[in-house]
Symmetry: C2
């Protein structure tokens, strides 16, 4: 699942459930258990930042339409105390954003110490749709790859753990999911005719993702390709990537910077 040198997206099975032996019916319980673990880790992590802890976590979510980014945000990120999360959904850039370098709007949204940042789409759109739609010439795209690696390196050096996830679905699965949106009036708003227009460029996008992995899956900020044809699996997998990220930081409950007994006496007298 972790993208190592030589990884080929074309060989990755979107139906697979690597590292998980259970079935769908077990997954709900497993997700709830993981949510408890994640919540406790997150609280410790946040607590530590109130006494000088400088670490942060950044989850980058990228995927083809309907792959389930929204479900990850709702069911995985949604299980964490909102006070410890900084979520940002990147849309088509505004006029003001376009008047700056492409990382300007991204840098503003990175998590502060103690926060779990979540990017719903990201700077990777600038090299994905950017190259597929030829929104920028090749030399600019190449420069952006270079800039992204340097940018992420700086964040990591500053204490950010970066977890980059591509939710991987098959073209057939996307077709079914888009069809389901067209069947249900309460899902019509999630469908956009542009989704089919992009879908026709499926192979170009897959090639663009392959290049993203080749160019930007570094030791410090690796990519994870998460099979996502089974939504329950993808949620569990991303939850565990977040748990791993926090465990690598190993936050501890802060020691009080006051005299506990003295404070008990002050409180009792109040």
């Amino acid at each position: 699942m972790r993208v190592e040198p030589g990884f080929l997206l074309a060989d990755a099975d979107p139906d697979a459930t690597p590292g998980y032996a259970g079935r769908k019916r077990d997954a709900v319980g497993a997700l709830a258990e993981g949510a408890e673990v994640l919540a406790t880790l997150q609280e410790k992590f946040f607590a530590d930042s109130t006494v000088g802890g400088t670490r942060s976590v950044l989850l980058v979510l990228q995927a083809m339409d309907t792959a389930g980014k929204g479900g990850i945000v709702k069911h995985v990120v949604g299980a964490v105390d909102p006070g410890g999360v900084h979520l940002h959904a990147f849309k088509a850039p505004t006029e003001e954003e376009l008047a700056h370098d492409f990382l300007w709007r991204v840098h503003r949204e990175v998590p502060r110490a103690g926060q779990i940042g979540v990017f719903d789409r990201s700077h990777y759109e600038d090299v994905l749709i950017g190259s597929v739609r030829k929104l920028a010439p090749d030399d600019v795209i190449a420069q952006r790859f270079h800039d992204i690696v340097a940018f992420e390196e700086e964040l990591v050096a500053n204490g950010t753990v970066i977890v980059k996830v591509m939710l991987h679905i098959s073209s057939d699965e996307q077709k079914e999911r888009l069809a389901a949106r067209l069947e249900r009036p309460d899902k019509h708003w999630k469908y956009n005719p542009g989704d089919v227009t992009e879908r026709l460029l499926w192979n170009d996008y897959q090639a663009a993702y392959q290049r993203v992995f080749d160019e930007t899956s570094t030791t410090d900020a690796p990519w994870y390709v998460v099979p996502a044809n089974r939504k329950w699996y993808a949620r569990l997998a991303v939850q565990h990537l977040l748990i791993d990220a926090l465990q690598s930081i190993d936050p501890q409950w802060p020691k009080p910077e006051y005299d506990v007994e003295h404070e008990k006496a002050r409180l009792a007298a109040s």
Copy 2:
């Protein structure tokens, strides 16, 4: 619970559970049921904003320390899709914030259309701690009350439903909760010696809240005093205030702005 003319905070019972006949053991189920209702309403509300809906909701949370703001954020707001929430915790103002008018940093954080904004503390600190600690002279405080009413009036005119909540605990309950924080190493980080210092000014703060209600509980942006000695009750009550706010907007699933049958054909051919 809604602050009407003549309301006296001193007469409000922090142990009460107005409007709820159940007991603590029923409350967990009731909160989970409410979360489903809230989640569906929120999704419709968000969906509507993608086709031009202009309404927003702003929940303002104020309280004495330990009253349970954090629990409301975690358990009530936390049950809503994070993508539809904009949460901001106001801390002591920074140097840059102090170099602006007191509403500058507040205005930047108001929710956009389709969002539920949540203020964990707010512009009301500027008239609460502001007057108790005499951080500003009386005429400035009076001017701020005037400014707050005008500011909220503008937001309401623009389509924001403002729900202002004061979580109301008793002084004895606060003492118990602070003592509990001093007993548990995993809660030590939540305790601050300054909490007792503020506690010694309990009556001044209660009087300051009374003035807030007198001056700013308007028809368009009323205050709700939520009894909060029982955390389970306060969570249910605030959840229902949010549900009421969204129901007053009565969002509907958007009608598709595309031809569904035509899109089905395009998708099938893709």
